[in-house]
Symmetry: C2
Subunit: 307 residues, 2 copies
Amino acid sequence: MSILVVGSVAFDDVTSPSGSVKNILGGAATYFSLAASYFTQVRVVAVVGEDFGAEQEAVFRSHSIDTHGIERAKGKTFRWGGTYADNLNEAKTDYTDLNVFETFHPQIPKEYEDTEFLFLAKIQPTLQANVRRGMKAVRLTGCDTMNYWINRTPKELAETLKLVDVLLINDTEAKMLAHETNLPRAANKVLAMGPQALVIKHGEYGATIFFREGAFGIGHHPFRAPTLPIDEVKDPTGAGDSFAGGFMGYVASQKELSREVLKRALFYGGVMGSFAVERFGTERLQSLTRDEIEARFQIFRELTHLE
Amino acid sequence: MSILVVGSVAFDDVTSPSGSVKNILGGAATYFSLAASYFTQVRVVAVVGEDFGAEQEAVFRSHSIDTHGIERAKGKTFRWGGTYADNLNEAKTDYTDLNVFETFHPQIPKEYEDTEFLFLAKIQPTLQANVRRGMKAVRLTGCDTMNYWINRTPKELAETLKLVDVLLINDTEAKMLAHETNLPRAANKVLAMGPQALVIKHGEYGATIFFREGAFGIGHHPFRAPTLPIDEVKDPTGAGDSFAGGFMGYVASQKELSREVLKRALFYGGVMGSFAVERFGTERLQSLTRDEIEARFQIFRELTHLE
């Protein structure tokens, strides 16, 4: 199966306690695509500027990612600069230059319209909704959002959430979206807004998936996947997008949309997120093998497995 | 097997978003004892004042907890008042009246000297070390500490850690103790200080146990136990002590000191901690059944279990 992702492609400058890199390929759609590419065929809808060249293109192409949906616009690609202090959980944004991304209106190429899996990375909610409505064959829509949209465009976001099957956000975003500090109660409120399932990412502690009653089979107990404690987190940028790529990519690779598939997908999400943070930018995601992914999946599984 | 706990017995005033209670039985040794009492015979060494009466005594006695080691001193029992805001992870201390606890010098009754399992709750490190040295038949020593001792008495604490088998602390304490913000690296530094195993409690995300190479069997991979997301956390006071009680109580109830036993103990720790926070003070811990404990153990197990 194929998966279509709509989101940002960017150039990043990142500083962390492990060092500093400039002008590296980044953006939610980039991290997502690379992570998902180990599981399924990926199609990208994004916009880049004239500074996006053959070198960047090759990163996608070498993972068989379909880049026909990447629009080339006049001007510069989206640029972001961020710094992580000792607490790697939070980036200080040094600058955000939206550039060509500011007027991004996703166009879905005709040949993408039959894609069965869709991921809406954290762009403006009305754009997300428009993309979803334009797709006729979608079996499952995953969606991300961020504090900026939760605060600025709550009504638009509420409309988008009605069209979404699985929302993937972090603890802070879930609590903000639900106006509720207790996590399971926040989860129930978010599920009442539309999604069949809600994945809440807990950073280094893993992630929990909450289900609407009756969604994806019997029962509505949540499920939790841990992540491996990592000795050296070099760069947390893109961890959430890589998680989403592993999660959605695995789902798209499976025949059935069962609860058990979503549980395994939660583990694969954690696996891809944990690889992403080991090197700066997308370096680690570019060089993985499926065997390495399976080996880490087993480690994660054993991490909480009682005999 | 029996387990001996040394620590505080207190009266607490607690306010949380769920309400307010005054003058309720609290203290680390109390939470620990009640949680451990569902698994094994518990002996308590603590000090109380003249305000500790038959009603409080009965709470221990009704769980067959041996209270001969609770010293009665002139004056008032240790009193603590705390308030939890919406973020239930952190208490604002309203007051701390050490009272009789200020001059507490734990005395181990003769009939306790053969106890095989020992838990040193978060009292002054030199007192912890003295208790450990006075015990001749101990097979496993568990220990807790807190920021106050990590900052004020680092040398004394370092001496104590050499005598400890399993240290149970939270993320913040582990990072502070190791002067290291990365959790697995912090864990390795703490293990180098003495303990065979280190349990790091992550609050609502569960806990991880890190092992010294070769400790408790082959391998040194960490193990993680999740906790159940709780719909209503009424009072987080004593969650960590209840975790320790479940962990140590289960270990003391088993014949062998294997890695598998410690892994299960980590789950039982989470189970007892999750019960503790459901009601104010020790209310929930007083009224449990072993069946309820086993049922929740199964839920926790299934929470991360893949088919």
